[in-house]
């Protein structure tokens, strides 16, 4: 009869061995992330509370507990935060609408034609390699007053004469949409590509029409990909400021990243910059957690 058996020496040894191996594998990278992410985040949080001693030179601060920086920063820049998240949200939705059909075309419609699939995938990925700034810059010229887009739209009377597209919120959002499109498309592609084509076909049998199959079978099954894509687009978009600087103006396109950058490097107001990035980080963390909980799957990418 089996009495209360404890674990055997062999079991313990096997567990210890596997545990130790797992730890050894994870440890170097874990330490790296601790030293270059976790600790820096704490030093950013503590720097946001630093005070500037009376009469000290620019850029000289000492450790303190000055929560006033937060209220000062937020009362000045609350509208910038709202704008940043608003732009990021619009860009994310636009990228989803544009990116999903691309991912669907390559992953589902072109299934079984690997060469064409590969080529189109390259087209999605390769813009990464032709520098980021150059691409933003080229939008500046494409959307320019005397450029092809504006003159065509004016000729077609879609835009009234003399409308500007550059230096507008539209240009900033369009640039962000463009920039993060591959980050939206690739996870959706990866998800659709793994999807069993029999499921889609079975959906076709059950619902007969292509669009119904899509709405009831394919779209719900591709939610993990959409989750990953929207997060990978929204997070960097909310912190981005290159588009705002290069495609926007100084009035109604300023984003939080821009302010953080100028607080650090122009005003040399380290606590202010640190407070702004802390707030940005916390808001994004809350948004991401709420989003994952609401539409949650364990699979992020």
């Amino acid at each position: 009869m089996s009495t209360a058996v404890q674990t055997s020496a062999e079991e313990k040894r096997a567990w210890r061995l596997r545990g130790r191996m797992g730890m050894l594998l994870v440890l170097p990278g874990f330490l790296f992330i601790v030293v270059f992410f976790a600790i820096p985040v704490f030093s950013m949080l503590s720097m946001s509370l630093y005070t500037q001693p009376e009469g000290a030179a620019t850029g000289v601060f000492e450790p303190g507990l000055n929560f006033g920086t937060y209220s000062a920063m937020m009362s000045t820049y609350w509208d910038t935060f709202i704008r940043s998240f608003g732009f990021a949200l619009i860009a994310t939705v636009a990228a989803l609408i544009i990116g999903y059909p691309m991912a669907y075309l390559v992953a589902v419609r072109l299934r079984g034609r690997p060469l064409l699939q590969g080529l189109l995938l390259v087209v999605i990925i390769a813009p990464f390699f032709s520098s980021f700034i150059l691409r933003v810059q080229s939008w500046r010229f494409i959307l320019a007053d005397e450029g092809f887009v504006v003159s065509t739209l004016e000729t077609l009377s879609i835009l009234p004469e003399g409308t500007r597209l550059t230096a507008t919120p539209f240009a900033v959002v369009a640039g962000m949409t463009y920039l993060y499109l591959p980050l939206m498309t690739l996870p959706i592609y990866a998800n659709l590509e793994r999807m069993d084509s029999r499921l889609i076909e079975a959906g076709g049998d059950l619902y007969a029409s292509g669009s119904q199959t899509f709405m009831r079978v394919t779209l719900p099954l591709s939610m993990p990909g959409i989750m990953a894509g929207t997060l990978l687009t929204f997070i960097p978009a909310a912190g981005d400021y290159v588009n705002a600087v290069m495609l926007g103006n100084n009035v109604n396109t300023t984003m939080v990243g821009q302010v953080i950058d100028s607080r650090f490097f122009q005003s040399v107001d380290y606590p202010g910059a640190a407070a702004l990035s802390s707030v940005l980080m916390v808001i994004i963390l809350i948004v991401v957690m709420a989003y994952v909980r609401r539409f949650g799957t364990k699979e992020i990418v």
Binding site: M1, S2, V5, Q6, S8, E10, E11, R13, A14
Partner: protein
């Protein structure tokens, strides 16, 4: 080929995962060169037992011996044991030949490739040596997995439901091939399966497992003829089980009384010989005859249960399966060979007859539903 098989001994093996006991104080002894089957429903602990023999899992208590050597503490890659996995687990990036030579190369056998080729000859796949596993059919992959294990001449070869993924026809063919190969290489085979027919056709010895324990071990025909528990009686083929009371005992022979009738039972075929017991009889050992007409074969040593009514008839070609309701006893299943063209139809009144020497007796507290596979 020289026999390389060794005895396998499990001594009081228990395996717990947290609070769940997968294998419970299991002991068995498989002599060298035997084809041994571990038979049981899914979740009975048979695969865990196999993994402990392979060294992929370590027992919570108990010892594992191969030959005279205690291998309990030996790691998987140091045991002279090889496994044919259920999903085959062929290495997709290696050719068939490289797959088969994998183990020999790890053991630094000098003529690994030659031996691997010979093993592929054995399973008649030498012509596919350069292919990748994905280019082979399921049956071919199965044979590669077998060759990959056998080529190492292990002391014990483990087969984890190796035929589960094959269709019925291929499965029958592979069963014969496996048996032939085992005869040829003389390795000790431990075959895990939930398919009772497969276990009975292939193995010399079958152990029926249930809930982490072995219910009964023996040659297939013995297990079938004389099951010791209700689980074995129901899981290995079908049985009719009913409660009966021992009214008389004269050493070798018992008299049973049930539902107003009596029957004899050999004391040697009963687990329990006094009080209320569960008696059992196989469906093909019952003869259904029109009410009041004894079958021609019946004579002394036969028992009769009157008052049956046919409730269902399934014709399967070779035989017909009847469900017959008997007042006070419930449903009996009867297999009748279709020797004559006349059969019964639903509603017919019949008497059931059996030869008393075919009856077996189980413990009185046996659960008559145990081991009936849920559909």
């Amino acid at each position: 080929m020289a026999a390389s098989g060794k005895d396998l001994v499990l001594e009081g093996i228990t395996k717990r995962f947290g609070d769940y006991t997968a294998v419970d104080d299991l002991s068995l002894h498989v002599p060298a060169g035997r084809f041994f089957a571990l038979l049981g429903p899914s979740g009975c602990g048979k695969s865990t037992t196999l993994r402990m023999i392979a060294g992929l899992e370590h027992p919570t208590s108990g010892r594992v011996y191969i030959g005279d050597e205690d291998v309990t503490a030996t790691k998987a890659h140091q045991r002279e044991v090889n496994t044919v996995f259920q999903s085959y687990a062929l290495f997709p990036h290696l050719s068939i030949l490289e797959n088969v030579a994998f183990g020999l190369k790890r053991k630094k056998v000098p003529d690994a490739v030659e031996q691997a080729k010979a093993a592929l000859e054995l399973v008649e796949l030498a012509h596919l040596a350069q292919r990748k596993p994905a280019q082979l059919s399921g049956g071919q992959q199965q044979r590669v997995a077998l060759a990959r294990a056998v080529v190492n001449r292990p002391h014990v070869l483990l087969l984890d439901e190796p035929l589960g993924a094959l269709d019925m026809k291929l499965r029958r063919q592979m069963q014969t091939e496996l048996k032939t190969i085992q005869d040829e290489v003389g390795v000790t085979f431990i075959h895990v399966t939930h398919d009772q027919e497969e276990a009975m056709t292939m193995a010399d010895t079958v152990a029926v497992m249930n809930a982490g324990r072995i219910e009964q071990i023996g040659p297939p025909d013995e297990l079938y003829d004389l099951p010791a528990t209700a689980f074995v009686a129901n899981f290995l083929g079908k049985s009719n089980l009913f409660e009966a009371t021992v009214t008389e005992s004269n050493g070798d022979w018992l008299s049973l009384s049930f539902a107003g009738t009596t029957t004899g039972l050999a004391a040697s075929r009963a687990v329990q010989t006094t009080g209320t017991i569960v008696a059992g009889i196989r469906p093909e050992k019952i003869i259904a005859a029109p009410a009041g007409q004894p079958p021609a074969s019946a004579g002394s040593g036969w028992a009769k249960v009157p008052g049956g009514r046919v409730t269902s008839v399934s014709y399967t070609g070779v035989s017909t399966e009847y469900e017959i309701a008997v007042q006070g006893l419930g449903e009996f299943t009867v297999f009748a060979q279709n020797l004559h063209s006349t059969g019964f139809t639903e509603g017919d009144q019949v008497d059931l007859w059996w030869e008393e020497s075919n009856l077996f007796g189980l413990a009185g507290d046996a659960d008559t539903e145990a081991g009936i596979e849920e559909v």
